[in-house]
């Protein structure tokens, strides 16, 4: 799972759904701790496509 910091709006929706609780929100960045199994849940809820969104919507 790839995190594109320059597409992130720091809303923490991804943090709310990560089953392994490896996404943490600091003031202005998402920190990814080890242990991602690429389940894709964070990708589904990210409003801006900052998490492994293949297509470019911008």
């Amino acid at each position: 799972m790839e995190y594109k910091a320059d597409r992130c709006g720091y809303c923490a929706a991804c943090v709310a759904v990560c089953p392994h609780e490896i996404l943490k929100q600091d003031e202005n960045e998402i920190i990814i701790i080890e242990g991602c199994d690429d389940c894709g849940k964070c990708t589904i809820v990210c409003p801006l496509g900052a998490l492994n969104q293949e297509e470019d919507y911008l």
Partner: protein, 393 residues
């Protein structure tokens, strides 16, 4: 450092609970991880009159963008339904109709609430993040906080977790688990200048091509601008994708982009433990159909502040005492939230065709009273809807 109460999160849930606790002479600290309270905005700002009744506060011009007189729903085929006229909004759910009320400027409103709380005596620390809970012998007794790179322990008899959708504090206390993606509304919104809308009307648009698993809203902010946003639950495209699609041909330009996640799962199972209460989005105190939380969060946060005051005065901040918060807020809202969740699950199964048929039924039966015979005929023509209604009942 030691306080009676530490509130984590400085928006509606945090400011209202800290305000009430401070008004009751408690020693209160509120910490907010952002450097400015109220930003970035993650809200469309629509709320009911009851929010101000709860707060016993006069709505002030500086944060009221417009007063709303009605709302229009737009079916996928473009058919329009005047929500207010049809009384469609869930009056029996103890959830007030969103078709009458205000559109707030959340930036100013949230800051105003924090200022009221500070004036009542609350200490506020901004750019300060709660990283962990201090737990001793199974009871919460403070937070580990970080401010400008410096980590500190701050002790308190009660922690109120008002940290929003990520609900990290409740998780640290073992009260909350990660949510399923279908229980989060993924939202994107523009504040647009140049949209030609009636400043007293809300608009809601439905349809799989517009906002799958959710809806699109237009909330006017006076004469000059409007919040146009949407919430989706879909793995196909992002909320921003649908926002860009809808606004592509509008003759209006954005001056702000807001994003956010709304918890649509209804309330979490338990909102208290020894030394801790959970309020607001963190506790799932949001209507699962509309995604509206302001009026519910305000009321629940007020109860949390009051229960904190009682507990400190009794010198008993155990789960047994704080349970009163859970009982009181559920008494007011739980039935409504649960019914709303049931409606949401039923609505999840509606296709665009079903929604168009429902809209057509409502519009054609507009002048008549909704007759039983008419309803039976309608459902006979739409067996899928009949099946859904049976499931629902």
């Amino acid at each position: 450092m030691k306080y009676d109460v530490i509130v984590v999160g400085g928006r509606i849930g945090g400011s209202v609970s800290s305000l009430i606790a401070s008004q009751n002479d408690l020693d209160v600290l509120m910490i907010e991880k952002r450097q400015e309270i109220g930003t970035p905005v993650q809200c469309a700002g629509g709320t009911t009159y009851s929010t101000f009744k709860t707060l016993d506060m006069k709505p002030k011009k500086k944060f009221i963008c417009s007063e709303i007189k009605g709302a229009m729903a737009h079916a996928p085929d473009g058919r329009e339904i005047n929500i207010f006229e049809y009384g469609l909004m869930v009056d029996n759910l103890n959830i007030e109709s969103p078709s009458k009320g205000y559109v707030l400027d959340r930036k100013i409103f949230d800051k105003h609430l924090a200022i009221q709380s500070a004036k009542a005596g609350t200490d506020i620390m901004v750019k300060t993040t709660a990283k962990d809970l201090i737990i001793k012998d199974g009871r919460v007794c403070g937070v580990v906080a970080k401010h400008l790179g410096k980590t500190m322990e701050i002790h308190a008899d009660i922690v109120i977790a008002a940290d929003g959708v990520e609900s990290n504090i409740a998780r640290l206390a073992g009260l909350e688990n990660p949510k399923k993606p279908k229980d989060i509304g993924s939202c994107a919104q523009f504040e647009l200048v140049g949209l030609d809308v009636d400043p007293q009307w809300l608009h809601f648009y439905f349809g799989r091509e517009i906002a799958p698993g959710g809806y699109l809203w237009i909330f006017p902010k006076g004469e000059d601008s409007a919040n146009l946003g949407l919430g989706v639950r879909s793995s196909k495209n992002t909320a921003y994708h649908y926002l860009k699609k809808f606004t592509a041909n509008l003759d209006a330009t954005p001056v702000e982009l807001n994003i956010g996640g709304v918890p649509l799962s209804g309330p979490i199972g338990k909102t208290f433990t020894d030394g801790l209460m959970v309020v607001g989005d963190a506790a799932g105190q949001v209507d699962p159909i509309t995604g509206g939380g302001i009026h519910i969060v305000t009321s629940c946060a007020k109860i949390a502040g009051e229960v904190a005051a009682e507990a400190i005065k009794m010198e008993d901040t155990s789960a047994k005492t704080l349970q009163r918060y859970d009982v009181l807020w559920r008494d007011k809202f739980e039935d409504g939230l649960k019914t709303s969740l049931k409606y949401r699950r039923a609505a999840d199964k509606l296709s665009d065709k079903d929604m168009n048929a429902l809209a057509e039924y409502l519009v054609t039966n507009h002048s008549e009273k909704f007759s039983k015979l008419g309803a039976v005929k309608f459902l006979g023509k739409h067996p899928h809807l009949l099946k859904l209604i049976k499931e629902f009942l």
